[in-house]
Every structure is written in C-alpha cells, then in structure tokens.
C-alpha cells in the first residue's frame, strides 16, 4: 500500500518536473518547427547556474530568477545569431542545436568541473512530510505545486494575452500569421527565449531533486522528446497530460519491470505514433 502511494506521489512530482522541462520544448517545436536538441543542455545549465547562485548565499527563489534570466538570454542569443541564419531550413536548425549541445556539455565541464554539485532545497522544505504513517519529501510536493502554477500561468499567457494570441496564430498557420502582420521575427526570439527560460526554471526547480552533474543533459533530453511526441505537436494540454503519463510509466516501470524500463518508456510513444501520428492531442502533422 505504502509503495503504491509513494510511487504515485513520485510519479506526480516527476510528471510536474517533466512538464516544466517539456513545455518550453513544445512551445518552440509548435511555433518554430525546431526540435531543440539543446533543451537538455539548457536544463542542465539552469541547474548549474542555480548551484552557483546558491553557493553565493542567495535563496532558491533568487537562483531560479537568475537561472531563468540567464538561460532565457542564452536562448535568445542562440535564436538570433544561429537559428536565424538558418530560417526555413528546419533540419539545419535541428543539426545546429545538436552541435550546440556538444559545445554546451564541454563548456559546462570546463566551468563547473566533472564532480556533481549539490543544490539544496530551502531549509524549511528539507524535512520530509509525515503522512499516514510514512514520509515523503516535502520539496517534491512543492515541485508539483510549482509545475501546476507554471502550467496555469502558461495557459493564461497563451489564452488571455496578445502575445499568446500571436503564438497561437503562428502555431496554426505561420504564413497566415505573417500575412496579418504578426512580427514573426520578434515572436520567434521571444518564444525561443521563453522556452529556454522554462528549461532554466525546470533545471532550478528540479535541482534539489536531481542535483547538477555532467550528463544531466543527456538524461533529460530523451524524456522531453517522448513527452512532446506523445502529447502531440503544438499542444500545451497534450504536453501537460503526456508529462504525467510518462511520469507514471517511468516511476512504476523502473520498479516493476527493471530490465525493460527503457523499452516500456518509449513503447507507448511508438504505439501512439503508429496509430495516431499527430500524438494524443496534436492536430497538425509536422
């Protein structure tokens, strides 16, 4: 019984974290048709920046803000100076982000060294929570709450603001959006920076669970890919639902069928694609 409850909570926390990781990826993919393979790197850089800020004696909230700002800036720079020169060549853009991920991994190794760096949760959240006779990390519940808040904020941004309307129009039909005067160039930079910023937030918020270590990028990127493919291109709700599906499959799969943990992680995505190529909630075929 305890096993099932704790694993369920674990799945929810991981799902929340995956949503923060994947929502940025989904936004960028949906609008710009770029499979941003630096997304794992951006997540890792976010975690490292957070670790450095915490070392300076600041709180996790400050760390999150700094990480979001800096990673968002890195995203904007990548879009402006590298992806921009490849506009219209989506495969070239994917390859460029792949090359950038090599550079980012090596740069992090240079700056932060090869040893893992701890990221501490705020003092008051460090003690585990007592529930029905067993313990669960308080911080993981906070991660779940933060992910819910960011999901709501993202939803409001997309549905209630002018920027969101422009993004939605762009996702539906970029050419049409351009024709009605939406400034695609600025929109792309903003969305890419926003996506990167979300990855930076994910890295910081996930930091106390995962810590910062070389290889974190490669551990996270495939998860983002699965979530986005499963959820469907350009669908924020799809990403949300898929994040939790993957959270559950991952957590229970590893415990129940350890030898095939990776297989059952990727299998649902393959099945969905085989029978519904646009993903669970996707509407368009990329």
């Amino acid at each position: 019984m305890q096993f099932w409850v704790i694993q369920t909570l674990n799945s929810l926390a991981l799902g929340g974290l995956l949503f923060m990781l994947s929502s940025g990826f989904a936004l960028i993919f949906g609008l710009m048709r770029i499979a941003n393979l630096t997304h794992g790197s951006l997540f890792m850089i976010g975690a490292y920046i957070a670790a450095s800020v915490l070392k300076g004696g600041y709180s996790l909230i400050v760390a999150a803000l700094v990480a979001m700002a800096l990673v968002g800036l890195i995203g904007a720079i990548i879009e402006r100076f590298i992806l921009r020169s490849l506009s219209g060549n989506s495969q070239g853009q994917v390859l460029a982000t792949l090359g950038l991920s090599f550079i980012a991994a090596d740069a992090c190794l240079m700056i932060w060294g090869g040893d893992p760096i701890p990221i501490n949760a705020p003092e008051m959240l460090r003690a585990p929570m007592q529930m029905f006779g067993f313990m669960f990390p308080t911080y993981r519940l906070v991660v779940l709450v933060i992910s819910m808040i960011s999901a709501v904020l993202l939803y409001l941004l997309m549905e209630k603001t002018r920027l969101g309307a422009m993004i939605r129009a762009g996702v539906d039909d970029m050419q049409m959006a351009r024709a009605v005067g939406i400034p695609a160039s600025q929109l792309f930079t903003i969305v890419f920076a926003l996506g990167a910023l979300l990855a930076g937030l994910g890295g910081t918020v996930g930091g106390p669970m995962l810590n910062a270590y070389p290889g974190l990028d490669a551990d996270m990127l495939p998860l983002a890919l699965i979530v986005v493919i499963l959820g469907g291109v350009g669908s924020l709700i799809g990403t949300f639902v898929a994040s939790f599906i993957i959270g559950f499959i991952y957590t229970f799969g590893i415990a129940l069928v350890p030898d095939l943990a990776y297989v059952i992680l990727f299998l649902p995505m393959v099945l969905v694609i085989a029978f519904r190529p646009s993903g669970l909630f996707g509407t368009i075929r990329a």
Binding site: N10, L14, A105, P116, I117, P118, R126, L210, P214, I254
Partner: protein, 413 residues
C-alpha cells in the same frame, strides 16, 4: 594462429635484440615512454582528470624520472567511449611507442582493449576494476594496484556481519557489471557470516531520479550497502535524506560510493557513513602524509580513488623498473618485475598475486568533519587483502564470475 611475414620479422628482430645486447641497452639513457589512457571529456571526466593530476604530481616530485630515466608522458583522452579507447591505445602503442600504459579508467574500456593488450604485449597498470581481467581470463600483461570490484566489498561485508553485527541488509548499486560484482562479493561474505541480504536494487547508470527506488527500499533492514560509482552515490544519499530515511537505516558503502571527489561537495548528510576502500586521503603513512597535503594544496581538494590510483601506479612502476635497471623495453622482464613488486606506496604496501592483482590493505573509513571539510577517517584496517578474500584461489575461480545471478540471492523478501 597463422603467422604473417611482418609479425614474424618483428618478432625475430625483437628476440634478437633481447638476446644479443641487453646489457648494452640497459646502460643507455632512452627515456621511459608512458601512456596514460584516461577520460577528460564527457560524464566520466572527473575521475579521469584526477588520474592525470595524480600521475603528474608523482612525476613532478621525482624530477620527471622513473628509475633514473627521463619520462616521456603521453596523455590520451578516450572520452569514455570504448571504440575510442581502442584507437587511443593503438595510437599510444604504434605512434608514441610507449613502453607501458596506465589506465584505462572504466571496466568496459579495459574489456574493449583486453585483446589488443594481449596481442601487442603492452605492460599495463590498470585502474579499472573488472574482476575477470585478473581472474578467470587473466591478462598476462595486466597488473592492477587498486582493487577488483569486490576486493574492498569482501572486508566491508565481514565488518558489517562480525563487528557491526548487522543481520539483514539491502544492497543498492548501479546496474552495470561493476555494481553487480561488488554487490555479489558483498553478499557472499555477508551471508556466509550469518547475515541475510533481503533486497537488491539495481538502478540504471543514467537514472536522474532515485525516488522510485527509495520508495521500494526496505526500511526494516539493519543497513543498506551502496555500490555506486561516480556521482550516483552522492545523489542517492542526498535523496535518501529527502525521504527522511537518514537515521532510520544505517548506510555503508563500497570503494567509490563516497570518494573524496564526491565528498567535497556534500554536507552533513554524509556524516557517519562508513565505506571500505584501499585508500583514504586521511591515511597515516609517510608517503601519503606527503602526497595528500601537497595534492590538496595544489588542487584545492583531497585526492581520492583516481588520483591515488595513478600516484600508486607510478610508485609501483618505478620500483619495478629499478629492479630491471630501468630497461623498459624488456617487456617480459618488466611484467615479471611488476608482479614481484613489494613497495610502500601512498595506499600502503603493495604486492601482487600471480594473476597480477594487488594484495594490499583495505580500510574501513568513516566520514567526519575535520578543519571544516568532510574526510574519510580510517577506523579499521584489513591487512593484505587479496582479490580472493580468504578463499582458496582455485576454488574461488571454479565458481562463475560474480554477477546478478551468482551467488544466488536466497534470502530476498
């Protein structure tokens, strides 16, 4: 095996040299060419960089000389990818014409170049722990002055069963051969001393989150043994803390679970954890009293497993070369001399068994805070530990190699 013309000529030329002019060549001053096969890029880089630092420190302290000869060191970065390891070792052998190789770092790298080392007869001082390379498939060109996977786990199991009096334990490790071998060795000795392994958890090497494993952990056991490598022990212990498991269940670890490299970034959660290893930066012997403080001064952190490995290897190589007048080209002579080594090093005295694996001390260490940093204080020493523990080598080798399946886990609940 068929003999082709080229290798025949090479072989006879080498034999001719060896027979005719050994004394002459022994007097010349050809430098000793050493190849360090290490990892400086990718996720394994931390240990690999320390390997280079440890070796370079030894060379700097000794005037860049081994057995009175100048040393030409070539450092090759394999990136921790076996195919690259193979290319790099052939580069060291064929292009740099090294006399001896130190490394590689990871077990799978060592396995990838096993054949090559045999075929090309390269004296190799390995750091990787893969058991069978000095056991059932012993490579005659291979010595290991560090430890097999289970060499430090056997004494830890003895310590847990007979001194800590633990009865029921859980083992957790990376789901790779290194983790399997370490846990199997631990289980065998622990269960033969009256304990029971009630649960085994093997997590993938690249799992970002251990939450799912922690939920399964049997907290009604006396202690948990951690067989992690790299940063995984660090992450697991931090997450145990998160789940409020610290204090509920005692933690002990294998030789890489709480390495100095990991410890430097940990906090109070590590205090009191006991691990077994063939080295500790806190070790009190004349050589280490010089090595560890100097390393700390230069690098700003304590030397751990990997730095100590190459520092020890260099001392072993130096002693072996001295006994053959520094004639590094005499491969057979060097291998024989290496296996006959009996030399004090930073880890304590080092001798080898006939399979090329070290017989040396293993230490039980406890994490304490000293001068504001966390250190592995040595609390107990098991002297002259062999890779076969207290078993007869022949009987030991008649069993299958340690794995998930052997010895069978009969007491799982």
């Amino acid at each position: 095996m068929t003999l082709d013309r080229r290798s025949f000529i090479q072989g006879s030329a080498a034999a001719g040299l060896g027979l005719a002019v050994p004394s002459l060549f022994a007097q010349n001053n050809e430098p000793v060419r050493v190849g360090l096969l290490t990892v400086k890029t990718g996720p394994l880089a931390s240990g690999g960089i320390d390997m280079e630092l440890g070796l370079k420190q030894w060379l700097a302290e000794n005037g860049n000389m081994l057995a009175g000869r100048k040393v030409e060191l070539t450092v090759a970065d394999t990136g921790g990818v076996p195919a690259n390891t193979k290319t790099k070792i052939s580069e060291l052998n064929e292009r740099n014409k090294v006399h001896v190789i130190m490394g590689p770092l990871a077990a799978f790298e060592a396995l990838a170049v096993d054949d090559y080392i045999r075929d090309n007869k390269i004296p190799t001082l390995s750091v990787a722990a893969a058991e069978d390379m000095t056991q059932r498939k012993a490579n005659p060109w291979f010595v290991r002055a560090t430890s097999t996977s289970s060499q430090s786990a056997h004494p830890m199991a003895d310590y847990c069963a007979n001194i800590k009096k633990y009865k029921r334990m859980v083992v957790v490790a990376d789901d790779i051969a290194y983790g399997h071998e370490m846990c199997a060795g631990f289980q065998r000795v622990f269960e033969e001393n009256g304990g029971k392994i009630v649960q085994r958890l093997f997590a993938p090497l690249t799992v970002p989150d251990y939450g799912s494993y922690l939920a399964q952990l049997k907290t009604n056991a006396d202690a948990v043994f951690l067989g992690f490598a790299g940063s995984n022990g660090f992450r697991f212990i931090r997450q145990m803390n998160e789940y409020g498991l610290k204090g509920k269940i005692a933690i002990v670890g294998g030789m890489t679970a709480l390495d100095e490299a990991v410890l430097k970034n940990m906090g109070d959660e590590a205090l009191g954890i006991e691990t077994a290893c063939w080295y500790s930066a806190e070790l009190n012997n004349p050589i280490n009293n010089k090595f560890a403080p100097a390393f700390r001064k230069a690098q700003g952190y304590d030397p751990g497993f990997y730095a100590a490995a190459t520092y020890t290897n260099a001392a072993v190589l130096d002693a072996a070369l001295k006994s053959i007048n520094g004639n590094a080209s005499n491969k057979e002579g060097l291998m024989a001399a290496l296996k006959k080594t009996n030399v004090p090093t930073a880890r304590g005295p080092v001798t080898f068994d006939s399979y090329g694996n070290v017989v040396g001390d293993v230490y039980i260490r406890k994490v304490e805070r000293k001068d504001g940093r966390l250190v592995n204080v040595v609390t107990k020493t098991y002297t002259n530990v062999s890779q076969f523990w207290k078993y007869d080598p022949k009987a030991f080798l008649a069993n299958p190699v340690y794995s998930k399946d052997w010895p069978p886990a009969r007491n799982l609940e």
